[in-house]
Symmetry: C2
Subunit: 143 residues, 2 copies
């Protein structure tokens, strides 16, 4: 598998046109533990734990188990969302941590998930999302 | 607002290290219709419609209305997910269309959402996700 080992890339950090209030972490996890990638309950708990560590508020969490293997779990946050899609047969998982607001620390969620799924390699890209200047981008209240 | 008008950027197309089976569209929508961005029911319908146009299968759909305005809606797909986060006060929305598999055409979902939300400007980045070579990355069966 020809992938970079544990790299972090800030893909859009040199773009000066935007106000970087939204941050989106695109995380590929390689050589993970098969059983953990196929455990829907474990993955739901892991997303919850990752969100709390990152100082996020989970408003809803859904998941789906696939046949013959694989899980998707998505947490709807007050600060945007965290999602995980797993392919246990390849020991691979794709994670998204999209945050808006100053209080959340998405890197903590990323670090936690790398360890929780026992990824021996990972590839993290940090993408700045581009709201217009006037977007306050703060945590909002649930109706 | 100093943002590119209706740009498409394939940010990782020159990276030859990976097999590009996963495609992630990061779409920023600017100058959208305020009412549509604040209409939870409309946004749920729009995600459903976008998914169907893209030949995706919606397995679950959740949403949340914020106070004083703003909506998040997320569709869990057999092919990964589509999410939308809106900030009506800034006429802005951040959309993610993450697909895995050969049958889905995420660009059709993107085109539909641009029109549905009446975005006068948009900024689309196409990011290849990086599964290891052996990931089949096909639509899987729901358990």
């Amino acid at each position: 598998m020809d992938v970079p080992k544990n790299q972090i890339v800030n893909s859009f950090s040199n773009d000066e046109k935007f106000i970087h209030q939204g941050k989106h972490l695109l995380l590929e996890l390689y050589k993970c533990d098969y059983e953990k990638l196929n455990d829907e309950s474990f993955l739901r708990c892991s997303l919850n734990r990752a969100a709390k560590l990152a100082n996020a508020t989970v408003l809803n969490l859904i998941s789906n188990k696939f046949d013959p293997q694989g899980v998707t779990a998505i947490a709807l946050l007050a600060e945007s969302h965290i999602s995980i899609h797993t392919w246990p047969e390849s020991n691979y998982s794709a994670v998204d941590i999209f945050t808006c607001g100053q209080n959340m620390v998405p890197e903590l969620a990323s670090q936690y998930l790398i360890k929780a799924l026992r990824a021996k390699e990972h590839y993290l890209r940090v993408v700045d999302r581009n709201p217009p200047v006037e977007v306050p981008c703060q945590t909002r209240t649930v109706v």
